[in-house]
């Protein structure tokens, strides 16, 4: 009985429902773009405000942005290495900021209050399309980084300690984007579902620690995604001798 009602409640969460936009022949998940535009707009406004009047003695927002910049630089530098981290820092930083803002925006803003004809607003990273897009960008980047830095010698990496590694390394090129995208997607979706279900079952107090846990997971996932992306790029540009 209880299980049945749980299922109905689950259904009321509208998992897997989307707000479809039809443009010509192609179909889009409108809710993903709506939330991402709102969140990225907020991010860009925040950054424009912080960088409007840059001073040598940082004040207010500039301090925060410089801390963020420093954090991203350290992340890129430790994973990619001193030589080429500069080229990839904007990409790694964008991945981090995008995932972080999407995750936290999805968890912190009560999107449920906005009613859509179909589906519901939420973290853009809770949609498989977003995470696969990010993961494929990471794959392209590390291929590009390897090829542009080492030319065809990049493929030495595939037979690096011994040629026995070749099939595994080729397999890795598929598992990397797969694990990247599904880790992020799964974590954020699971967090949204857990909070949603708990809110349905016990609307008061009990969801709060889970929400905090969700914020924690969101931040960690952003860090993991950016770190792994940087690590893959670093692996591709690394000289092994």
């Amino acid at each position: 009985m209880f299980f049945n009602s749980l299922l109905t409640n689950f259904a009321a969460l509208e998992v897997g429902q989307h707000l479809y936009w039809q443009i010509g022949n192609i179909r889009l998940h409108g809710q993903v773009f709506l939330t991402s535009w709102i969140l990225l707009g907020a991010l860009l406004v925040f950054i424009s405000l912080g960088t409007k009047k840059m001073e040598n003695d940082p004040k207010g927002l500039q301090n925060l942005l410089e801390f963020l910049w420093d954090y991203i630089r350290d992340l890129a530098r430790t994973q990619i290495g001193e030589k080429v981290y500069r080229d990839w820092m904007p990409f790694i930083g964008t991945l981090f900021l995008f995932v972080f803002v999407s995750n936290w925006g999805g968890a912190l803003i009560p999107w449920r209050l906005i009613k859509l004809p179909s589906g519901e607003l939420g973290a853009p990273t809770a949609d498989i399309n977003t995470t696969i897009a990010l993961a494929l960008l990471v794959s392209l980047s590390y291929f590009y980084a390897g090829l542009s830095n080492k030319g065809w010698r990049y493929f030495e990496y595939y037979v690096h300690p011994t040629p026995i590694m070749l099939p595994f390394k080729i397999l890795e090129d598929f598992t990397k984007p797969l694990s990247l995208s599904f880790r992020l997607f799964g974590n954020i979706l699971a967090d949204e579902l857990v909070v949603g279900v708990l809110v349905f079952l016990v609307p008061l107090i009990l969801p709060i620690p889970v929400m905090f846990l969700g914020l924690f997971t969101s931040a960690i996932q952003a860090l993991i995604f950016a770190t792994l992306a940087a690590y893959y790029i670093g692996e591709a540009v690394e000289e092994h001798h």
């Binding site: 299922l7 689950f10 259904a11 998992v15 897997g16 429902q17 989307h18 192609i26 179909r27 889009l28 998940h29 993903v32 773009f33 991402s36 990225l40 860009l44 950054i47 424009s48 960088t51 840059m54 001073e55 040598n56 940082p58 500039q62 942005l65 410089e66 910049w69 420093d70 991203i72 630089r73 820092m89 904007p90 990409f91 930083g93 964008t94 991945l95 900021l97 995008f98 589906g119 853009p124 949609d127 498989i128 399309n129 977003t130 696969i132 897009a133 990010l134 494929l136 960008l137 979706l189």
Partner: protein, 153 residues
């Protein structure tokens, strides 16, 4: 039924992959360029300029410190050499005065000796003159006595 709702429908579902994917990728690439020109470049410029400023100042301060230490050592050297020079001059002067004192002493001694000798010689000559006179007078006297004795007879 749940699984059906999750994955199965042609319309929607959790794993409904469509044009959202490439458009999202384009959006993220565009965001990378926007953030690069809006955030990473300007903030990086400011931070790196400051880091350069700080490290330059540290280097400059280190240089100045080493210069100060060099000057200090230089001064100490000069002080030491001045001290030893002063000591040398003092000891030289002491030697000089010692020498002069000794010379003067010797000169005085010599003079004293010379005048002593002169006096001695004078005394001696006077003594001998007196003795001559005495012996002459004694001769005269004896002659007189002899004459008188002879006359009496």
């Amino acid at each position: 039924m749940l699984a059906f709702n999750f994955f199965g429908t042609t319309e929607g579902g959790l794993f409904d992959i469509n044009a959202t994917l490439p458009l999202m990728a384009i959006q993220v690439v565009a965001l990378t360029y926007i953030l690069n020109s809006l955030f990473f470049k300007p903030v990086g410029n400011v931070v790196e300029k400051r880091e350069k400023f700080v490290s330059n100042n540290i280097i400059e301060a280190k240089n100045k410190l080493s210069e100060v230490k060099k000057l200090e050592a230089d001064l100490l050297n000069q002080l030491q050499s001045a001290r030893s020079e002063a000591q040398r001059i003092v000891s030289e002067a002491e030697n000089e005065s010692d020498k002069l004192y000794k010379e003067a002493l010797e000169l005085a001694n010599n003079e004293a000796n010379a005048s002593k000798e002169k006096v001695r010689l004078e005394i001696e000559s006077q003594t001998s003159a007196a003795r001559d006179q005495l012996s002459k007078q004694a001769d005269d006297l004896s002659e007189l006595i002899v004459n008188r004795l002879i006359l009496k007879k």
